[in-house]
Amino acid sequence: MTKIILSAAAGAVALGLGAQVASAQTLESVQENGYVQCGVSTGLAGFSNTDDAGDWTGLDVDYCRALAAAIFDDPEAVRFTPLSAVERFTALQSGEIDVLSRNTTWTMSRDTDLGLNFVGVTFYDGQGFMVPKELEVTSALQLSGASVCVQSGTTTELNLTDYFNANNMDYNPVVFEGLEEVNAAYNAGRCDVYTTDSSGLASIRLQLDNPDDHMILPELISKEPLGPSVRQGDEQWFDIAKWVYYALVSAEELGVNSENVEEMTESENPDIRRLVGSEGTFGEDIGLENDWALKAIKHVGNYGEIFERNVGPETPLQIERGLNALYTDGGVQYAMPVR
């Protein structure tokens, strides 16, 4: 029954999207309200979770804070709407939220069919493998013959099959219905390998009896580019959302961070001067003030700082930069220039 209703809902979403023309004035209504309404997940370690004080923190959350800071000079000028997976697109479509920053994979059908505009990729995720260190495995290609714990009925399971077949390796799947069961099975040593999205592996690792005895292998066998999205049809808002993300990455490329950004307004480097608003009218062109990027960086930090603070090696999650490093450091984070 729930499934039928859900698919009916999905159909209605698709229809509704076709008919609905998003109003073009998101920025105006945001400024009128005095806050950005931001859709986040109902709890995902390091991406959107609440801390002891009850404040939302995380990578997805910080993007919204940066967006709010760029507009209002105040990272608190944002209200978070926790959304379940089924609700998220409707919430964006119906105007309940202004931006969706909820570990959402950028796919073609979502970008076109569902009427979203993806802003960029704030986290390159992908399916990975976790193994006990005592196996002394350093690459997924050494996993031939291993028994692999995996959740049933997910794309994870399909990716796993494809990967092992493509590499001519045998494996022995240990399949469970629920996430908790998979965790318990791996914890009890019923399988050698645990596979799911790498960000998920990082938080599952923390729930094991001895997190330090386990490692996540470097290979990612699927592409899960996660990023924020906005409604189609409001180019100005899309531009703002997109360039706030680019500004955060540019800032890291140019060595601008939350500590030194104020001094950087005096910088000689024209790239930095344009970014922090000392030169040009880039902010005004998107409907904001010229120091929009400065405000975002000042309050929230550059992309690197956001990453390190929420999921990086210094946090309990200990996720390496990997693909999320700047292109200059072997990753694929690359910002279009502010020029």
């Binding site: 029954m1 729930t2 209703i5 859900l6 809902a9 209605a12 979403v13 509704g16 609905q20 998003a22 109003s23 209504s29 109902t42 709890g43 995902l44 370690a45 390091g46 979770n49 609440t50 801390d51 002891d52 004080a53 009850g54 404040d55 209200r79 978070f80 709407t81 926790p82 959304l83 379940s84 089924v86 609700e87 409707t90 919430a91 479509q93 119906s94 105007g95 309940e96 908790e180 914890n187 938080s203 923390l206 729930q207 094991l208 009896d209 997190p211 946090t315 309990p316 999650l317």
Partner: protein
Amino acid sequence: MSDTHSEADLATTKLAFVRDDFIEQQEAPTREGGIGQWIRVNLFASVPDTILTVVMILFLAWILPPLLNWAFFNAVWDGANREACLGEDRGACWAFVEAKFAQFMYGRYPLGERWRVDLTGILLIAGTIPMLIPRVPFKRLNAIFLLIVFPVVAYVLLVGGYFGLPVVVTDRWGGLLVTLVVAIVGIVVSLPLGVILALGRRSRLPFVKYASIVFIEFWRGVPLITILFMSSVMLPLFLPEGVSFDKLLRALVGVAFFASAYMAEVIRGGLQAIPKGQYEAADAMGLGFWQKMRLIILPQALTMVIPGIVNTFIGLFKDTSLVLIIGLFDLLGIVQLGFTDPNWSSPQTAVTGFAFAALVYFIFCFGMSKYSIYMENRLDTSHR
């Protein structure tokens, strides 16, 4: 025959059931009591009893020590983050519950405004307790306070926007606050609405009757989870863009209607159990419909279905945790949200959180259950 039987007469008639000698005098029974007696009578009275007792003792011996070790002796009582709860034989991570306790109670309700929630809670308790104790007088005033004054005051206090109280958006509500708001609104709305629907369903007026039937069957025929999904996923699509109702309000309406439909059927059961004579007697006395219901039928019908009503209440109380799927954090939801804080991720975090949530739910449900039994006994004017 003479008026009295002589002893000889009795002896000669040989009535088999007449005792003709005394029982030999026996010693007075030893006065038994105390623990030994209780154990023998209650635990080892017969062979099957003894077997059951032994099995249960073995079971407890098997389950209790690890449970107590986990919950108390090996438990971590304080700590600042996950480090405290890591380690080979650590038990429950109560430090996690301690750190997040305020969140579990208030959700993300702003720190400086939490006194408003406290005050609402105190008013609720102050209004409810005298209501629940039959001896306390002024029931009518009390009911007016609880049903009319309190909801208005609670709304003003919790939502704000009047008398200089800042508005607290419902996005920030959570934890036990949301659980209680949803459950209490559900309970308070569903009982009167259920009575009206139950009466409506038995009405002779076709419009009233079929409207009630459609309402009841519609809400009863759809799972609560679907109603919540509809309210949060479908409803916004039908509304013009930019118009949106408060999420909590949508959930409240959904839960209240859902519970009303169930309540209506429970009460209808009670109405049907009242003998026809009662209705006719009331009619014969010249009572109008509402008088008849208020004075004769409903007091009997409602008393009879107290277990069913409380059943619905308890079910409703536990169903509130479903609001998590539309992104509202009730008690269980906020506990689960706490698990995702990487600073507290440990093997014991989830188990401890669930144990805490279970304990809170149990306290409330058990309380309701006990009170209903007390009320049943008190109101038992006996059809037995």
